[in-house]
Symmetry: C2
Subunit: 224 residues, 2 copies
């Protein structure tokens, strides 16, 4: 079997998504931590279009962008599938992966890296976005722990910023968005997700990440 | 065979992408034109997360978001494949589909719906984005008419806004971006794409689209 190496950065959801996918598939891999400021040769050689980690090396093959990497993992190692088999179910999963990619990070990121009026507007937009997830994605199907089943799949990985990351961000900016009375379905899923062994064992340390994200926010606010 | 119906809006690249994909696959379908201002029942029922067309009905099944629809079409009708079979080639195709989704429309849209300094900044960003396509996507491989082969595939469909749409936008805002000396590879691909029978026969009328886009731009600029 060809060697699998994942280059990523700490506290980074996009890196963790791929770690989770590889672990869920049971694929042995080496993880190599890169510096956050590293826009050096590796990035410029292998992902000059987006200039970011993670990057997966599978023997001589190189793949970047977290959800593209996850589809590659799915195409290459069919065991413990992350996508359903039925074309309609696949399209529903891909629809929510697109929603996560287009809306979730944009909303949370804007809320996190702004202040004052801009932040208030972004908080409202984030709540609207979370309501869509509450009402349309994790709709409180008692039979399913995760999106569409008993096992974590690609949609759960796509929404992986909500458990842990969003909770830390709430604590830093002092705003509680995930209220139990507003988001019972979503919070039920958050709990299921965090209780899963592979997720629990592969989450950044709360305190370290709190300090890292807080510093990053202050740096960006002071330079804007 | 279950009936296929596509609901879309005129002059809309996202609608045309799906028309092209269905025609390339040789799938008979009925096209139903929707009003641009229609945020009515169909959208709110079937795509409330994004609130936009196109929407594909395949019998009782409903799929929305153009690239999600194209992956559904590929999963459902394997003839005339739009994606390569090899996992690495698939990941490269999906990488550029993601680039098109994240960068191409954002850049061109911002350039189109702004004026003055904001527009100048957006024009520069659009040129940088087009350079990435020139140097990394359509790299002047003399053997290939399209991305990775002799036949139009998912990457060509994803970049489908560049032929026709971007050319009309250039004419409206009076800025020429696609200079032959700067973008020989990209312009070569544009020509191949527009000469393909199915594309040629399924493009919005230049003059009508010019008027439509010009009015839309003026409306947005006057209300911002």
């Amino acid at each position: 079997m060809e060697e699998v190496k994942l280059h990523g950065t700490s506290y980074n959801l996009f890196t963790y998504r791929v770690i989770w996918a590889l672990k869920l598939k049971g694929i042995p891999f080496e993880y190599l931590e890169e510096e956050h400021s590293n826009k050096g040769s590796l990035i410029m050689k292998y992902n000059p279009a987006f200039k970011r980690f993670p990057i997966l090396f599978h023997g001589e093959k190189v793949i970047s962008e977290s959800m593209v990497i996850i589809e590659y993992i799915e195409d290459t190692w069919p065991q413990n599938p992350l996508l359903p088999i039925d074309p309609l179910d696949r399209s529903i999963a891909r629809f929510w992966v697109k929603f996560a990619g287009d809306k979730v990070y944009a909303c949370i990121g804007t809320m996190y890296y702004t202040s004052g009026e801009k932040q208030e507007k972004a908080i409202k937009e984030t709540i609207e976005m979370l309501k869509i997830i509450e009402e349309q994605v994790f709709i409180g199907d008692q039979e399913n722990k995760f999106f569409g089943g008993e096992k974590i799949g690609i949609v759960d990985l796509a929404f992986g910023i909500i458990p842990h990351w969003l909770e830390i961000i709430e604590d830093i900016i002092g705003v509680k968005l995930l209220e139990p009375n507003l988001f019972p379905n979503l919070l039920n899923w958050v709990q299921n997700f965090k209780e899963e062994q592979i997720i629990k064992e592969n989450l950044p340390n709360y305190d370290e990440m709190f300090v890292f994200l807080k510093n990053q926010r202050e740096l960006i606010l002071s330079s804007s």
